[in-house]
């Protein structure tokens, strides 16, 4: 027994010697302790709530061990804990002479003396949250800690507690902290879809690889239906990875596959790519309204007069208007109508030329066999998600036209459903997220006023419809729309205007800019806004085998399936119990 005690003592002494906190531990042999320790970094020496806190680093804190975008905790005087984000790291000096006349080369002693005294490292820390003294709940920060309050690096537990966001399993693990791979950063999906969101990043930063699993998470957790305008055919069946690698699209993720519907605008291309669409989307001329074409005013370079003429024709010919304009049906009254509506001959033929360019798109046909868009809407209201593949149709006109066409009808239907629900004769429409790539094409300040996307971003949240904007040029998006975006996920951006645009309407933007500027060009993103308690830099998860595994099977037990169906059908729990 005595021997065993001795052994334990010896081990404890050895542990002390080799602890990573012991600065005299033999180099290379220090053990990382199992319990992560709060590492003291320095003390608060000044600053303000708006401009951030100045933190003087302790002498033995290595600046190289810190990173912009990492978190720190500050224990306030009143037991409140502040959470802050490092927004800048700099080298400072009490006496500028020390910087102008550094110690001579080889004089390590002097360098050692100066470090931490005459010259020192300093942090700029933006206070982000304050943990409530009693409940420990995060609150917006409204004050700053006092002078000389010690600052610690946040431990994985502390960060994880903030980002747990675990409300009934609606949390989505978007990646890991850049500081420590073991810290999982989760976002609250319900909050994410509650307001419009955006994924920004210059081309090649992995926006699609970030958006696809995120949308899969939204679908799997049933927080919303999604409608994806898939301009580059990435989301539906296969995703083109680097070096020609083929990755799985949403339809190939078993757990959510039954809830994914792929509609294609280009059957031939879909067949070639073997993307197994559920149906081909066709739109008949008679289904098109002048408002659908009005949104293309800029793309088709239609003048205001010509746009007015579209409405005049529609008033006159109703559903046949486009047939007349396209010259598909001859009408003897045409001259009379043009004269009455004060449309000049030249105007009409110019209009005809421009419209024919649009009508040349394969999915636009004089007569459509079905109301395909109606089918899409039915799927969405039932809780399915729809991917609209553009196939080889890569013209901008097609993209703008189709997305506006469908979205306008969604808008109408959701407004109606919501009003019915409010009137007591229906259920609330399911939350819907519309994902649009190249969003600046619709949300450019000149166009945003006309397109339905501007309206959705601005006001459709009330009707349970929000946008997920995926774009590389945030600067070209209407600032009014930008200000409505709840959650911003930003990968690396290089253009100054784009960086400035991302921070429209964000407080303390100046400091966060430096965080954004320090992102790696791949697999790193700054997330801020509604779905996260405070801005966070994440190393996004790699889309591949690990994600496939999670979605390997539907994993719905009969009970779960029953509960889900009951929910979709609007039955309450008591009905479910009767079964």
């Amino acid at each position: 027994m005595t021997n065993r005690m001795d052994d334990t003592d010896t081990i404890r002494v050895l542990d002390d010697i080799l602890s990573d906190r012991n600065p005299l531990a033999p180099p290379g042999q220090a053990r990382a302790s199992a319990q992560p320790v709060r590492r003291r970094l320095g003390v608060v020496v000044g600053g303000s709530l708006n401009d951030g806190l100045d933190v003087k680093l302790d002498r033995d804190t290595y600046t190289e061990g810190l990173a912009v975008g990492s978190y720190v905790t500050i224990d306030g005087q009143t037991d409140r804990k502040f959470f802050g984000l490092i927004t800048d790291i700099r080298l400072d000096a009490i006496d500028p002479n020390a910087q102008k006349m550094p110690p001579p080369a080889g004089n390590d002693l002097l360098a050692q003396v100066y470090r931490g005294t005459t010259v020192f490292g300093a942090l700029q820390v933006k206070p982000m949250l304050m943990l409530d003294r009693d409940t420990g709940d995060p609150r917006p920060v409204k004050t700053v800690p006092a002078h000389f309050t010690p600052v610690y690096s946040a431990t994985p537990e502390e960060v994880e507690a903030i980002f747990a966001a675990d409300n009934a399993g609606k949390a989505y693990e978007i990646g890991q902290s850049v500081d420590d791979d073991s810290i999982k950063i989760k976002i609250d999906l319900e909050r994410f879809v509650e307001r419009s969101s955006a994924i920004f990043g210059r081309s090649g930063t992995g926006k699609t690889f970030l958006a696809l699993p995120l949308l899969a998470g939204v679908i799997r957790n049933e927080v919303a239906s999604t409608l994806i305008f898939d301009m580059h055919n990435d989301y539906g069946y296969t995703l083109k990875g680097d070096k020609g690698k083929q990755l799985k699209g949403l339809k190939q993720l078993a757990a959510i596959a039954p809830r994914i519907v792929i509609a294609t605008l280009d059957e031939e291309s879909s067949r070639r790519r073997n993307s197994r669409p559920d149906f081909a989307l066709r739109i008949g001329y008679e289904q098109i309204e002048p408002e659908d074409i009005e949104t293309l005013q800029k793309t088709l370079s239609l003048s205001d007069v010509q746009v007015n003429a579209l409405f005049a024709l529609h008033r006159e010919y109703k559903k046949e208007w486009l047939h007349v304009l396209a010259g598909e049906s001859q009408d003897s009254r045409l001259d009379e109508v043009l004269e009455r509506s004060k449309i000049l001959d030249g105007t009409f033929s110019a209009m005809q030329r421009k419209i024919k360019k649009l009508l040349g798109l394969k999915f636009l046909q004089p007569y459509a066999a079905d109301d395909f868009v109606g089918r899409i809407l039915d799927h969405l209201t039932r809780g399915d998600s729809v991917v609209i593949e553009f196939g080889g149709t890569d013209s901008l006109e097609a993209y703008v036209f189709v997305s506006n066409y469908i979205t306008r009808r969604i808008h109408d239907r959701y407004v109606r459903l919501k009003e019915l629900a409010e009137g007591g004769s229906g259920t609330m429409p399911r939350q819907l997220v519309i994902a649009v790539e190249e969003a600046h094409k619709f949300l450019d300040p000149e166009v945003a006023q006309h397109t339905i996307f501007g309206t959705i971003a601005r006001e459709l949240r009330k009707y349970n419809v929000t946008l997920l904007i995926i774009d590389q040029r945030p600067s070209q998006i209407d600032s009014e729309v930008m200000s409505q975006i709840g959650t911003r996920i930003t990968c690396a951006l290089s253009d100054e205007r784009d960086i400035a645009a991302v921070f429209t309407g964000v407080s303390g933007a100046q400091q966060l800019r430096s965080v954004l500027a320090s992102l790696d060009s791949k697999q790193q993103a700054l997330i801020m806004g509604h779905a996260v308690p405070m801005p966070v830099v994440v190393r996004t998860r790699e889309y591949g085998q690990a994600v496939y595994q999670e979605y390997a099977s539907s994993a719905l037990s009969p009970d779960d399936r029953h509960a889900r169906n009951a929910k979709l059908l609007g039955r309450d729990e008591e009905d479910a119990l009767v079964r």
């Binding site: 002498r59 000096a93 009490i94 006496d95 002479n97 020390a98 006349m101 110690p103 002693l109 002097l110 050692q112 003396v113 100066y114 931490g116 005294t117 005459t118 010259v119």
Partner: protein, 198 residues
């Protein structure tokens, strides 16, 4: 015992000693005496050693005599003419109490005995460096030189392997007290001498 106090005030005192022998203190050394009424030990740093003129002018004459004899010089040196050693008070310790690195409550009285501090006392005294401020404030001394000399001796009193860390610690304390005045810190640091191996 290396000498006795000749004159004293609150900040400093002067003691007389014979012609330096090997154990006679040098510039920057830590010496001690007692303040009898308080039963306390007073510590000080030697900042000046002066050779005074004798009253009968013998030394003057011998200094210019063309044929001064060695016996005369030896005889003159063996007379009781003291060296005046000036000491800056840097701390005191009441019996059984901690060391206070500040001015003593009273100066030593005349003819108090002076002793050199041993290495362990020097180490103990320099475990804290609060007395640096007293030295820096002593404008009538070459305080930078004095600090450098005393740090060198305190470093030398320590075990090999611990000396560099001590010197770095002193440098940092200086940097703090001098508000990061890089030029002055460098000047002092350059004057500190120690040998890590000896």
């Amino acid at each position: 015992m290396i000498g006795r106090v000749i004159q004293a005030n609150m900040r400093s005192f002067v003691f007389g000693t014979r012609v330096p022998e090997s154990d006679v203190p040098v510039f920057g050394a830590l010496v001690k005496t007692s303040i009898r009424h308080r039963q306390a030990t007073l510590y000080g740093l030697i900042y000046d050693i002066a050779v005074n003129e004798d009253d009968d002018g013998m030394t003057r004459m011998l200094s210019v005599a063309e044929d001064a004899r060695e016996e005369d010089i030896d005889w003159q040196r063996s007379r009781l003419i003291p060296l005046n050693v000036s000491v800056l008070c840097v701390g005191y310790q009441e019996q059984g109490g901690p060391i206070h690195r500040q001015f003593p409550p009273q100066p030593p009285i005349a003819l108090s005995e002076i002793e050199c501090c041993e290495n362990d006392e020097l180490i103990q005294f320099t475990e804290q460096l609060d007395h640096f401020q007293l030295v820096l404030d002593a404008r009538d001394t070459s305080c930078d030189e004095l600090l450098a000399a005393s740090i060198s001796q305190a470093a030398g009193a320590r075990q090999a392997g611990l000396r560099r860390d001590f010197v770095v610690g002193c440098g940092r304390e200086l940097a703090r007290l001098l508000m990061g005045d890089a030029l002055r810190i460098e000047r002092i640091m350059r004057r500190i001498r120690w040998d890590e191996r000896a």
